[in-house]
Symmetry: C2
Subunit: 381 residues, 2 copies
C-alpha cells in the first residue's frame, strides 16, 4: 500500500504537466544512450515519419534508420569527448530528443544536449573536484545609464580567505549573452578542472552581456512581453567597448581583485573577439593578456566610433608595453579565416608578436571550448 | 560595403549552427506575439501537418487553425499575467515553438515559455527595480559525505553593508532540482519585486537539491554520461531531512544570516512540502515560519526513517512553541487535496493553528508562484 502510494505520487508528479493529454506518459525509449566505449545511440519514436535526420552541431548530419515499428535509431562510434548539441529533422520539422530533458539555446535555436566523457577526463565535464561558485549579478553602468546583468565565476576557496585574485574578462559572440560561456562554453567546469589540476591559476572570470541594447539574456530583462529579435542594433558600433570600464570598476569595487594590468586578461569569441581587440587596443594600460577567438576582425574602418579609429597606431602603442600574451585562435574553415590572415599580416608587418593557434573546423563552440582550455592555462603565470 | 559586411556577419553568425542545412535560415513567422491588450498569438510553420494542437500548462489544450498555405495559428485573449509553458503536438509529435528561443524544463519535458506582463505589474516579471544576486554554490555535506549544489538568492544591497539577513529555505518537488524555483518559480523576480515595493522583508533565499541521490540538476553533476532517470530512489525516505542541518550550518557559516529560529522560514512544494513538514516537526527550535505548498503529505507512517515516526506528537511539541506562521496552501483540483484535508483534520483535532489558503486548479506552477508571492509577504514581520 505504501509502495502503491509512492508509485502513485511518482506517476502523478512526473506525468503532471501532460497528464491531461496522456501523450508522454507511457515509458518510451532511452536517448541518447552512451556506452562505456563512448559510442552514442540516438533513438526517436516517430511512427508516422517518412524520414528522420540527426544533426549534431556542424559535426554530424545523417539519416536515421527505422529500427522497429515506431522507432528510428542510429549509433555513432567516433565522437570525441565534448559537449554536443543536436536535434532531429522529422519530415522537415525540427524536433528535440523527446527522451532527453537537457537542452541549450544557440542564438535562437534550441537543441538537445549531452556531455560525452567516457574516460572521466574531459575538461568540460563536471568532476569531483573543488567547485567555484557562479554569481548572476546586476551592475550599474553609469555610461549606459542602466542596470545590466552579468555572470561572475569565483574560484573554489574564494569565500574562505582574504586573498586577491586576477580577473579574466570573457566575452561572447553576437548570438550569445552573459549566460552562453557558462552554458555552451562550460566555463565553470573548465575553470574548476584546470585549477584543481594545477594547470590554471585561481582566477575570477567575468562574463558580461556584450549587446548594449539589451540589459540581460532573452527573457531575463524587463519588458518580458517583447520577443527577442536576435538582430541587435548595438553590437559592434562602439557602445560596449566605450562602456567597458563600468564593468571593470564595478568588479574591482565588489570583489577581491588584483586591480592592475598584470592581473587582467580579456578574451572573446567572434564579436567578443572584435570587442576584445578594440578594448585592449584603446586601453593599453589595462590588460596584460589578450585572446582573440575566431575574432570578427573584418574591417578596421568601421568608423562609427572613435574606438575604431587608428587601430594600427593603437596596436603599436599597445605592443610597446609588450603584452604578456596576445593570443589569436581560429579554425581553418572559419568564414572569418581570411580576415584573420589579413590582420596577422598587419601585425607581422609591424613586428607585433602574438601566439597563433590554428585549429580544424569553423566558427563553432567545439573550437571555443578548446581555445578556452588552452588560453586559460597561459594566464597569470 | 561596410553594411554588407555587417549583414554578412549577422547572417552567418545567426545561421551558423544550421548553415550546413539551410533549414532555418529563411525569416519565418513571429511567435508568440503579445499584443498591448495582453492577447497572445501563436504561430507554427508546418506545411505538411494534418493537425496541430497547442498545449499550455494544464490551462489550454486547443486545436490550431491553418492560416495560410504553411502556417498554423491561434490567438488567445484571456490569459492572466504569469509565466507560461507550452508546446505543439504536430501529428502526434511534440514540437517546440520554432520561433521562440526561450525554453524551460518541467521534470523531463522541455517546453517553450514566455512571461505575460501586459501592464508591467506582474510579480513574476523582471522590472526595473534593484536586483538581488543569485549564486550557484557547492556545499559540503558531512552527513552525506559529498559535495552538493544549491542556489542562493541574496537581496539587493547585500554586498554594500554589514547587515544580517533572515533566511528562507525554499524546497522543490520530486520533478525539480535546485534550479526550478528560479526557472519556473521566478523566485528571484518575485523577491526583487516584493522587496522593492516594501511588501517583503529583505531576506536570503536558499534553494537546495532535495534528491540526495543526485548532487546537482541533470547535466550539472559528475557522471555526465549518465542519463537522468527522473525516478529518484532517495526522495521521501529521510536522507534529505536528516542531512538538512548540513545546509543550515553551511549557510550560517558562509553568509551574514540572523541565525535564530525567529529569522528562519522553510517552505516547499509537493515533495518539498513533505520535506518541510518533517524537517520543521523534527527541529521545533529551528523554524518560526513554515509553508506547505500542495504538500505531498499523504501517509504519515512512511516508517523508513525515525524522521517520520510520531508526527502527531512532534507537531504538538512544535506548536507548544507557537510557530509565528504555519501556512498550508493547496488547489481544489490537486490530487493531494484529500490528503491535505485529512492532515488539517488532525491539526484541527489537536487545536494546532495554521493559516489555510485554498486556490483553484491543481498541482501546478501557476499555484506555486502564487503561493510564493503570498507566503513571502508574511515572513519576518
Amino acid at each position: 500500500m505504501k509502495k502503491l502510494f509512492l508509485l502513485a505520487i511518482a506517476f502523478m508528479a512526473m506525468g503532471l504537466v501532460m497528464s491531461a493529454q496522456g501523450v508522454f506518459l507511457a515509458p518510451t525509449v532511452a536517448s541518447p544512450e552512451i556506452a562505456k566505449d563512448g559510442s552514442v545511440t540516438f533513438k526517436l519514436k516517430a511512427p508516422a515519419a517518412d524520414s528522420v535526420r540527426l544533426i549534431i552541431d556542424s559535426r554530424v548530419d545523417t539519416l536515421m534508420k527505422r529500427t522497429g515499428n515506431e522507432t528510428w535509431s542510429i549509433t555513432l562510434r567516433d565522437l570525441e569527448p565534448d559537449l554536443y548539441m543536436y536535434y532531429y529533422i522529422v519530415d522537415g520539422l525540427k524536433v528535440l530528443d523527446q527522451e532527453n530533458a537537457q537542452v541549450l539555446r544557440d542564438v535562437k535555436t534550441v537543441m538537445s544536449t549531452f556531455v560525452l566523457d567516457p574516460k572521466g577526463d574531459s575538461p568540460v565535464a563536471t568532476h569531483d573536484v573543488p567547485h567555484g561558485k557562479v554569481e548572476a549579478v546586476w551592475y550599474d553602468s553609469p555610461t549606459l545609464k542602466t542596470k545590466r546583468r552579468m555572470m561572475v565565476y569565483l574560484p573554489a576557496g574564494y569565500d574562505e580567505g582574504r586573498q586577491k585574485y586576477p580577473v579574466f574578462y570573457l566575452l561572447h559572440g553576437t548570438g550569445g549573452d552573459e549566460t552562453v560561456w557558462l552554458e555552451q562554453g562550460h566555463a565553470a567546469q573548465v575553470l574548476d578542472n584546470l585549477i584543481a589540476e594545477g594547470k590554471a591559476e585561481p582566477m575570477i572570470v567575468v562574463m558580461p552581456n556584450g549587446h548594449t541594447d539589451t540589459p540581460a539574456a532573452p527573457g531575463l530583462g524587463p519588458n518580458s512581453n517583447e520577443q527577442p529579435t536576435f538582430a541587435h542594433k548595438q553590437w559592434m558600433e562602439g557602445t560596449f567597448e566605450s562602456s567597458f570600464n563600468d564593468i571593470v570598476s564595478w568588479i574591482d569595487n565588489n570583489y577581491r581583485t588584483r586591480a592592475a594590468k598584470r592581473y587582467r586578461a580579456i578574451a572573446g569569441l567572434s564579436m567578443g573577439g572584435y570587442h576584445t581587440l578594440y578594448i585592449s587596443a584603446n586601453q593599453p594600460d589595462d590588460f596584460a593578456y589578450v585572446g582573440l577567438f575566431s575574432a570578427a576582425i573584418g574591417r578596421m574602418d568601421q568608423g562609427k566610433s572613435k574606438i575604431y579609429d587608428d587601430l594600427e597606431d593603437k596596436l603599436i602603442t599597445q605592443f610597446k608595453q609588450r603584452p604578456r600574451l596576445y593570443w589569436i585562435g581560429i579554425g581553418k574553415d572559419d568564414f572569418l579565416y581570411k580576415d584573420n590572415v589579413n590582420f596577422r599580416g598587419m601585425m607581422d608587418k609591424n613586428r607585433l608578436r602574438y601566439t597563433y593557434y590554428e585549429s580544424g573546423a569553423g566558427h563553432e563552440w567545439a573550437n571555443w571550448r578548446d581555445y578556452l582550455v588552452i588560453f586559460t592555462q597561459l594566464l597569470f603565470k
